[in-house]
Each structure stands twice: as structure tokens, then as C-alpha cells.
Subunit: 155 residues, 2 copies
DNA sequence: ATTACAAAAGTGTATATACACTTAAAATAT
DNA sequence: ATATTTTAAGTGTATATACACTTTTGTAAT
């Protein structure tokens, strides 16, 4: 019997919950996203949006395509995810100077303030996971997550 | 300086990409989901949908709420995710006998066939990740993912 | 028995995600 | 210089996700 046997008995089926990489990654994403959303709720932005502000702060001004690559995210997904932040005036997206096809994302003052307001709550969420999981295990998991991204992209 | 310092300088911002649990989990989910979707595409179902078939096979007939709990998923999310599978006739959702409020999910013959068709492709995806990441590291990551779910729910 | 409460599920709305397709602009080939 | 190709981005559509709110039905209190 191979490692992931195609035999379809009940035992095999219930085993998938323990062995399936995509299921377990998505499940963990749901659980952890929920925690971060709860903790960061008072800040008025979602963790996913917070990420976009932080990345823009760190790497901006940056084009949509290059930021999408940075985030390992489909470009069209990023385009859509930018919308609420543009609407709220936290990010600015303007046509590139050199290349008129491209559009450059940059942080507004309001966006910076919003980010600074959310930062301590993000930190609180980080600390809670750190304490509940243990620093060593969290670091190890983050390491493995980075590795699995590379693995999935090269496989 | 505390572990996740609230100081908002550039270094701190770019560090978030390496330390943020929710960002890295979501990023890995995107990358691994993409791989599984590519490999499983010939089967005609998505990995998320495959999961629902497998869980129904293993635990069904089961109510919506209890399956949602099993999957660490919001009940209303599951309700919505069942729709395409019901529409395609892969799952059946009928009112419970005892409790008329509840609705029970069960696999149809077509659903079982669909699952059996997708199973070898799921296996192929598992093997690819297994090989690219290494068995030991994959097992460790799955272990840590289970732990982080508990951590997030108890934190 | 009636009232009050609790539990199961559905709906409205919003964000997150990505593929297929299209449009516009830059780069290259001839 | 024009034609071809490549590249950056947007749109249509579909699934995934979850909160707030509502409806229906079962249970408990009186």
C-alpha cells in the first residue's frame, strides 16, 4: 500500500482530515484568521487589509503585479482587495509615470494612521498565538509555511 | 523591545511578512490550494469540494452544524459551500427525521463516483507536496497546523 | 397549555480568491 | 514605420468565507 492509498474505505476517508495538506492549511487559516479578526476588530480593519497597508509601507510605491508576486497572490485578487482600502482613502493607486499601463500603490496619511492604530492589536494577536502555541513551535511553523510555499510553487 | 514591537519603522514592517501568523497561513493556503486545483482539475471538482465529499462519506449522514464544527468552519459558510455540490447532484441535503429544524447531508451515488474519480488526483497532489517538502517536514507541519487550530480557538 | 427560551438553519451583505477574457500600452521584428 | 508580440491591468463570473439578522422548530418554565 502506497502512502496515500487510493483505496476508498471509511478509514481512508476519515484519515484525509489528518493528512490532507490543503484541507489542514485552509482549516488553520480559518481558525487563525478568526482570532486575528476578533482581536483587531476595534481597529476597524481586517488582518488581510492590514497586511496590504504594511506591505505598501515597506515596499511602496509598488505596482499591482509586483505586489501580487510578493504576496503570492493572483494579480486580479489583489486588484479586488485594494478596492475597499482605496474607497476608505487608506491607499492610493495611480498610473505609473514611466509605464502608463502600470498602476502604483502608495500609502496615504490616513492609511499610515490606520496602520499605526491597528499595529498594537496585531501585536496582541501575535502574542496570543505565540503564548498558546509556544514560541518555538510558532517559529517552526512559520518556517515550514515558507517552505511549503516554495514546495507548492516548484512541485 | 518586546517580541512584536509596535514601533512602526520600515524594518518592522518588512518583518511582518516573516512573522505574521495569519499572513503566512493564508499565503501558504493560496499556494497549496493552487497546486491541488491544478492537479485535480481533470476530475472536475475543487479540493474544497472534494473535502466535503470525503467527510460526508466518512461521517455522513450528518447535520450541517455538526459538519461545520468538524471542519472548523462557520455554519453559514458550509451552507453556501454545499450548494454547488447539491446542484451537481453529488450531495443530498434533506430535513432530519427527528428534528425537523436540522438538515442532513449524505452522499449520492454520483457523489461517490465523483469522489473515487478525484481520489487518485488528490493522492498525486499529496505525493507532490510530500516529495517537494519532505515527508518529515510535511508531517511536522500537519502536526503544527492541528496545534495552531487548538491554540487559536483557546487563545 | 401558554409563554419563554434555545437551537438549527437560511438570507443579505461584504470581503477574499482566482480563472478566462479583454483592453491598452510598451517592446520587438520586419 | 508598421506590424507583431508581449506585458500591465481591468472585468465577468464563480467559489470560499463569515457576520448580523431572521425564521422555524424544539425544549423548558410557569
Amino acid at each position: 500500500m502506497t502512502k496515500y492509498d487510493t483505496t476508498c474505505d471509511l478509514g481512508q476517508c476519515s484519515l484525509i482530515g489528518q493528512t490532507c495538506a490543503v484541507f489542514n492549511l485552509r482549516k488553520a487559516s480559518r481558525a487563525v484568521t478568526k482570532l486575528y479578526e476578533e482581536i483587531m476588530k476595534p481597529s476597524g480593519i481586517l488582518p488581510t487589509q492590514f497586511t496590504l497597508l504594511v506591505v505598501t509601507r515597506a515596499f511602496g510605491p509598488v505596482t499591482i503585479s509586483s505586489m501580487a508576486e510578493l504576496l503570492v497572490m493572483d494579480r486580479t485578487t489583489l486588484t479586488r482587495n485594494l478596492k475597499p482600502l482605496e474607497r476608505e482613502g487608506l491607499l492610493r493607486v495611480v498610473a505609473g509615470k514611466d509605464d502608463k499601463r502600470s498602476r502604483e500603490i502608495s500609502l496615504t496619511n490616513k492609511g499610515l494612521e490606520q496602520m499605526e492604530e491597528a499595529l498594537p492589536l496585531w501585536q496582541e494577536a501575535q502574542c496570543r498565538i505565540d503564548q498558546a502555541l509556544g514560541s518555538a513551535r510558532l517559529d517552526r511553523m512559520l518556517d515550514d509555511l515558507t517552505a511549503v510555499v516554495s514546495a507548492a510553487r516548484s512541485a
